[in-house]
């Protein structure tokens, strides 16, 4: 009974880390970024590159099967992924924005990028599954019948730290305030002297950085595959919509619901239908609460 709660929270943490970026592009750039999954993937593969460059394995931290080498790699991968995302924005999305292209055009461009990104990863890194390191996870019993791998604790801990940092950033820094201002009213923001272009850059950087963390931890927990991020896209979108798209904290709550739903589906032997069940839950919530769990009515 408790076991799936524990599993659900771990996958919720990963979904939420990835979905923050979707939520931010949705509210600030105002389109559903279908390429977010590939940002996770690219982040995970950059981490792999750095792990092999550092050449010290992924280390350990007490009972946790990863340590400083992996964490340092993730930090550098965050920067590399951000650069890639900024270049893509500059080449593709910025000209479309300047032309005042319809939101649908942006979604379409993202959809195309998603496929391209996935296939570029296949071309460059190969299509076969890869791993950061081989290790044997040792589960420990935290409650009678509930076994958790120490790495799962570490993942949940990292996610909580990331959310806390995000919360402080959004509420305590000038850039965070500017981002909230742009997400609410871009015109008034400009009148106020906010440089929307700078805000957009930070939107991509934060979204890409958290996605890199999500991608790397997911890859550590499972494996690296070119489709790994794409497979996360529907749960991430579902988290966004469930939480009420205009609300960052709603997205985290939405991710929790999705993570637990997935875990329940798995425990009922419906693992193959996991994404479809997620989707059904999303549709049902939309039917009765179109504004999502924490969203305001329009």
């Amino acid at each position: 009974m408790m076991q799936f709660v524990a599993d659900g929270i771990v996958s919720a943490a990963l979904i939420a880390l990835g979905a923050i970026g979707i939520s931010m592009t949705y509210n600030i750039l105002r389109f559903a970024n279908f390429a977010q999954g590939e940002i996770l993937t690219i982040g995970a593969y950059f981490t792999l590159l750095l792990v092999s460059l550092i050449g010290a394995g992924i280390g350990t931290l007490g009972p946790v099967a990863f340590g400083w080498p992996l964490l340092v790699s993730i930090v550098f991968a965050m920067a590399a992924t951000s650069v890639v995302v900024l270049v893509v924005d500059w080449l593709l999305f910025r000209p479309l924005r300047n032309r005042k292209a319809a939101r649908i055009t942006l979604i379409m461009a993202a959809f195309g990028l998603s496929l391209m990104g996935r296939n570029l990863v296949t071309l460059i890194a190969g299509g076969e599954p890869q791993y950061y390191a081989f290790f044997i996870p040792k589960a420990i019993e935290i409650l009678p019948g509930v076994r958790l791998v120490p790495d799962d604790f570490a993942i949940i801990g990292i996610a909580i730290i990331a959310f806390a940092a995000l919360f402080l950033f959004m509420n305590r820094t000038s850039m965070g305030r500017q981002m909230r201002a742009v997400s609410e009213n871009p015109t008034l923001a400009r009148i106020n002297g906010i440089d929307v272009r700078a805000v957009i850059r930070w939107t991509w950087i934060i979204g890409a950085s958290l996605a890199t963390v999500a991608g790397a931890l997911l890859a550590h927990n499972t494996q690296l595959r070119p489709e790994m991020g794409f497979d996360m896209l529907l749960p991430m979108f579902a988290a966004l919509i469930l939480g009420g798209a205009s609300n960052l904290y709603g997205t985290i709550l939405g991710a929790l619901v999705i993570g637990l739903t997935e875990a329940i589906a798995v425990s009922l032997g419906l693992a193959g239908y996991r994404a479809a069940i997620t989707f059904m839950v999303m549709l049902i919530v939309l039917l009765f609460r179109p504004q999502g769990l924490l969203g305001e009515k329009e």
């Binding site: 500017q178 609410e184 009148i191 002297g193």
Partner: protein, 244 residues
């Protein structure tokens, strides 16, 4: 001759390049003045302010501030020219607290934040106790104070207001106008658009009447107030001046 602080010369602008709304408007605002722009609905008053603020592209003419050409300035640079603008609607960040709204106002002069905040709270003492509330939760009059207060946080020399009394009760509108007099007294020049012609002209030094994208009548506030032609010809049936 005194240089105008804001000089709008023969400006043509609109929402669509092929369909200008303003057909060659000229207007001056001198330091220390309150200037009111009047005109019927759809005359292009808001359009004029948006064009000055760089929200619309200007296809002809020029805008200068203190002698510097700011035609087609990027809107977010306006505040560096020390021009602040309070739009007609949606002029506060509703989800942000009053304090956060004020802090955003001082984005480019954060070192003056405390000083400007003091100045704004002296003008609008009510804001002090509302500080932590979301601006969207405030009443119309309070919201207008937040909007003007936020604009003043940037320490502007010119403040542009689009219908500051819109949607307020006559009594509250009066409060807003008397606050504007105090804003003028602390050394801020004001350009405002108003429907509430009589009350606005009472606190103004000069005024312009706009119709069909051009300035039709101009003069000092007194003469406009006494000019019967202004009411009949240009303010439209639903203006207060026409009715009174």
């Amino acid at each position: 001759m005194v240089e105008p602080m804001l000089a709008v010369r023969d400006v043509e602008a609109g929402y669509n390049p092929s369909l200008p709304i303003l057909h060659g408007i000229s207007l001056d605002v001198f330091e220390g003045e309150i200037v009111t722009v009047l005109g019927p609905n759809g005359a292009g008053k808001s359009t004029l302010i948006k064009a000055i603020a760089g929200l619309l592209s200007i296809s002809r003419g020029s805008v200068t501030i203190g002698g510097r050409d700011i035609t087609g300035v990027e809107t977010h640079q306006l505040i560096r020219e020390r021009v602040a603008y309070v739009p007609q609607t949606e002029n506060v960040f509703a989800k942000l607290s009053v304090e956060e709204n004020l802090a955003l106002g001082a984005l480019h002069n954060p070192d003056q934040f405390a000083e400007q905040r003091r100045r704004v709270l002296d003008l609008f003492p009510d804001l002090e106790r509302l500080g932590h509330l979301a601006a969207g939760k405030l009443s119309g009059g309070q919201r207008q104070m937040v909007a003007v207060g936020r604009a003043l946080m940037a320490d502007p020399t010119l403040l542009m207001l689009d219908e500051p009394s819109a949607g307020l009760s006559p009594k509250l509108a009066q409060v807003v106008f008397s606050q504007l007099i105090r804003v003028k007294q602390v050394g801020v020049t004001i350009l405002m658009v108003e429907q509430n012609a009589r009350a606005a002209l009472k606190i103004s030094d000069r005024g312009y009447v706009l119709a069909e994208g051009q300035e039709k009548v101009q003069g000092d506030a007194r003469s406009l107030l006494d000019n019967p032609e202004v009411g009949e010809l240009y303010l439209g049936a639903n203006s207060r001046l026409a009715r009174s």
